[in-house]
């Protein structure tokens, strides 16, 4: 992985000041087994978290992290094994209040109700009542104000929760968790939707709370964050506990090896460029401008892979979405393989020869209840028969080919996409993008929420596709996605600021994405 990014922030505060080693652990789970039908989600897993530490839990998708979290937060009972809090056995599953006094979890998915105010969200189902047994909104507001200022969260309690940013929402959820008396908080991928500065503010907040005696279990896919903020790390793989060690004593390579179960393969072997300058450029963008970006100009040759990097809000996603017609630009033009599709029209962009993987597969990628075959052929009805009639046989043949080509793990093309794992779902989306042999392939965050193996497979497919003369645009902030690019364009605050050729160092790219000049 990378080193050096965000190294500007101070090292984690020493967590062991005033701590007696003999203290019982805040939470200890031993011998946890959890089965869902035939699959074993946890197989004798264990974790021990000491007071005041920030403990990282890492593992690939399907390693059992989420299941452990639901066991630790009392959402599911383990089939075997015990959980103790501060030495006492865990409360019964139905005693939600007792669980909430011990542990709280800030999930990726918000548990804030958008239509209610912040104050009401904080005191939902436990509002202060006045003398007439009706809710006293005044004391609810005051209580919320007190609570928020105690933990120095600067949010107006009267704000409707829908107006909060992701970051504010997380702080409100943390404050709510603390108000139940819990001093052990699980953060489930808290940084996934935050940009760089917001992540730093979150980390400052975590360190603050840590000094006040709050213990954290921190789950993240980003290893550098673990090195920055955590004291201890526990690795799960294939439903088992692999190791627990102080972060400072565990080199990155060993951590990665523990996660993948193999020595970290050096995927950096040089990819021969497949750029073909003799053919019309796959994409040429000139002077593109809109709210989120300004004056964007670049070209992608046939067979070239170009990365479009940038932090959240830098405009990279918007540019990519404009190219495929999900948005219309205010000015400038997009030319796909020599044709100029009507701006803001996805069908026109597809007809011009584009294929794309949208940003959020759950939102825009697939129809969950439709079959793999239907999803994969959604954008290519003309391949399924003429005159507006679809041939089921042809569809299934086409889908079977895609399933084989992309190694989608499924019993057959009739399975609904919602029944697949994240990685395989993304493969279906990729299959659709490739269905019509595109001249230009646009990928937005193509490996978000995808496990390591599927990730490598998907990226390998991209290289293969490029080798056939397709131009590829990858809009992502995931360094692994960008590694194979012939060059990476970095966007910062809506403009393309830097162009980096292949062979870059992680810290160069991250610095450019954050708008920092390392050599200044």
């Amino acid at each position: 992985m990378s080193d050096g990014e965000r190294a500007a922030s101070p090292a984690p505060a020493p967590a062991d000041d005033g701590r007696v080693p003999a203290d019982p652990p805040v939470v200890e789970a031993t011998g946890i087994v959890k089965r869902f039908g035939p699959t074993v989600a946890l197989n004798g897993a264990r974790i021990t978290i000491r007071p005041g530490e920030t403990h990282a839990l890492v593992g690939r998708n399907g390693a059992g992290k989420s299941t452990l979290v639901s066991v630790l937060t009392g959402l599911q009972a383990p089939d075997e094994g015990t959980v103790t809090f501060g030495g006492d056995p865990a409360p019964r599953l139905t005693d939600r209040d007792a669980w909430r006094r011990n542990v709280a979890c800030v999930y990726q998915k918000s548990t804030i109700i958008p239509t209610l105010t912040v104050a009401e969200n904080l005191f939902l189902n436990r509002q202060q009542h006045g003398r007439n047994r009706l809710i006293s909104w005044q004391s609810v507001r005051r209580g919320a104000q007190d609570l928020l200022s105690t933990w120095s969260v600067d949010v107006d309690p009267q704000t409707p929760a829908a107006e909060l940013s992701v970051e504010q929402r997380q702080f409100v959820e943390i404050a709510r968790a603390l108000s139940f008396g819990a001093r052990f908080i699980v953060l489930d991928e808290p940084t996934a939707q935050l940009d760089g500065p917001a992540i730093n503010r979150l980390f400052d907040r975590i360190r603050d709370l840590q000094r006040q005696g709050v213990t954290f279990l921190f789950i993240s896919h980003h290893l550098q964050e673990i090195y920055e903020i955590c004291d201890m790390v526990t690795v799960f793989r294939d439903a088992r506990h692999i190791l627990t060690a102080p972060v400072a004593e565990l080199p990155r390579t060993e951590l990665v090896a523990a996660m993948t179960g193999e020595a970290a393969a050096d995927r950096l072997e040089e990819r021969a460029s497949t750029l073909d300058t003799g053919v019309t450029a796959a994409l040429s963008v000139r002077g593109l401008g809109a709210d989120a970006y300004d004056d964007v100009t670049f070209q992608i040759g046939a067979g070239e892979i170009v990365g479009l990097a940038g932090a959240a809000g830098s405009g990279r996603t918007e540019v990519a979405e404009t190219v495929v017609g999900l948005r219309a630009a205010d000015g400038g033009e997009v030319e796909i393989a020599g044709k100029r599709p009507r701006p803001g029209s996805v069908p026109a962009a597809l007809a011009a020869g584009a294929g794309f993987v949208p940003q959020d597969r759950h939102h825009q990628g697939y129809v969950p209840d439709m079959s793999i075959a239907d999803n994969a052929t959604l954008s290519v009805p003309h391949l399924l028969g003429g005159n507006g009639f679809l041939s089921r046989a042809r569809r299934d043949r086409l889908a079977a080919g895609m399933i084989e080509k992309l190694a989608i793990k499924t019993p057959g093309p009739e399975l609904p996409v919602s029944a697949l794992s994240g990685g395989n779902q993304q493969k279906v989306v990729m299959a659709r993008a490739l269905a019509d042999d595109p001249r230009l392939l646009v990928l937005i965050n193509p490996t978000a929420g995808v496990d390591v193996r599927s990730k490598e497979f998907l990226l390998g497919k991209v290289e293969e596709t490029a080798a056939t003369g397709t131009g590829v645009l990858i809009a992502s902030d995931e360094l692994d996605d960008l590694r194979m690019c012939d060059r990476v364009l970095v966007m910062f605050q809506g403009r393309v600021t830097t162009e980096i050729a292949r062979g870059w160092h992680d810290h160069d790219l991250v610095a450019a994405m954050e708008g920092v000049d390392l050599h200044a």
Partner: protein
């Protein structure tokens, strides 16, 4: 970047680019609250127009007439509003409104007069009406909550079934000679105003308080806004949903009782087609079909506005044959206006 503001350690930074919320009276009343009152200006405008069209409009008798004719429909709006707030929908309310008093009349009205069975004394009519309402609510809840069926389709089915049952027991005819107890609520006057108006206003007042100032009421909004989060907050969501759906059906039965009392009969088509006006009134009143949004006061002003406009049209001498077309048009116009004032896309 439109960054968020958080006082990381000490006092908040100066010149924070926070999104300023529109507020009046020095920030005391946020605009969101004012939206509840969005229809009040419209109601005033209609009142003025009505007075110009025909000076009868603002006379007490006419206003009482408007309130009384809308009281039954208003109770359905009250029921539907609760149900919409928890993100469900009950189409069968209109049939319940006919069937519940229909069953009571069937059991109570003496034989020889139409299809009455004369099995029970007259005093039973009110309990029977309410019990039928509750039973319908229980069946709906069982199918929707317990068996997880789609609420829209379940209540659409119930709408047809209940209407059919009423037609069956009445032989498609109208029950007359209702007992005194059934007539009372629809005809009595309390303190110079029809009892049905009092009942309607009182129930809305109770609903406003319950929805705004009790834990139960707030849990309705929580469930409609995000049911998983409501569960995580320890709300017994299923129990709340049961209560809401059953209460809604009982209210519909009560509305039917008021209407039967006022008309001194139960027609086999009683309540037929009401549900469309009910839904329209709720949406005009600011209730979101996506759940979690809207207030009882808004819903009340929605139905009041619709009935006032109808009254003005009648007073203005619009031919009765055209009232239906105009009603539909009014609903569309009112929706458009609330889209403009509300500023948000209605889904």
């Amino acid at each position: 970047m439109p960054e968020t503001v958080l006082a990381g350690s000490a006092a908040p930074d100066t010149a924070e680019p926070q999104v300023r919320r529109t507020a009046l009276l020095g920030g005391r009343i946020p605009l969101a609250r004012l939206r509840d009152l969005a229809l009040v200006p419209a109601i005033i405008v209609i009142a003025v127009v009505g007075q110009i069209v025909n000076p009868v409009f603002l006379q007490t008798d006419n206003l009482i007439n408007v309130l009384q004719t809308m009281s039954e429909m208003a109770l359905l709006v009250l029921a539907q509003t609760m149900i919409l707030i928890v993100k469900k929908m009950d189409l069968s309310l209109e049939s319940t409104m006919g069937l519940a008093p229909g069953v009571a009349a069937w059991l109570v009205v003496p034989t020889g007069a139409g299809h009455g069975l004369g099995l029970l004394p007259g005093a039973w009519s009110i309990p029977v009406t309410l019990a039928v309402g509750a039973l319908v609510g229980v069946i709906n809840s069982l199918l929707i909550i317990r068996f997880g069926l789609n609420g829209f389709i379940v209540t659409l089915g119930m709408l047809i079934v209940l209407r059919g049952v009423l037609t069956g027991i009445s032989g498609g005819q109208t029950f007359f000679q209702l007992p005194q107890s059934m007539l009372y609520l629809g005809t009595a006057e309390w303190f110079g105003m029809p009892a049905s108006i009092w009942i309607c206003l009182a129930l809305f007042a109770v609903a406003i308080v319950v929805l705004g100032w009790t834990g139960f009421g707030r849990s309705l909004y929580a469930i409609g806004g995000n049911v998983d989060a409501a569960k995580a907050a320890g709300i017994r969501t299923d129990r709340v949903l049961w209560t809401v759906i059953v209460t809604g059906s009982v209210l519909a039965a009560l509305a039917g009782l008021l209407l039967s009392g006022r008309l001194a009969s139960v027609a086999s088509a009683q309540g037929n087609g009401y549900i469309f006006t009910v839904m329209a009134a709720a949406v005009i009143g600011g209730i979101s079909l996506n759940g979690g949004k809207g207030t009882m006061f808004g819903a009340f002003s929605g139905i009041l506005l619709l009935y006032m406009i109808q009254n003005v049209l009648t007073l203005g001498g619009v031919p009765a044959q055209w009232i239906g077309a105009l009603n539909g048009l009014i609903i569309l116009v009112a929706l458009t206006i609330s889209r403009i004032t509300g500023g948000k896309v209605q889904e």
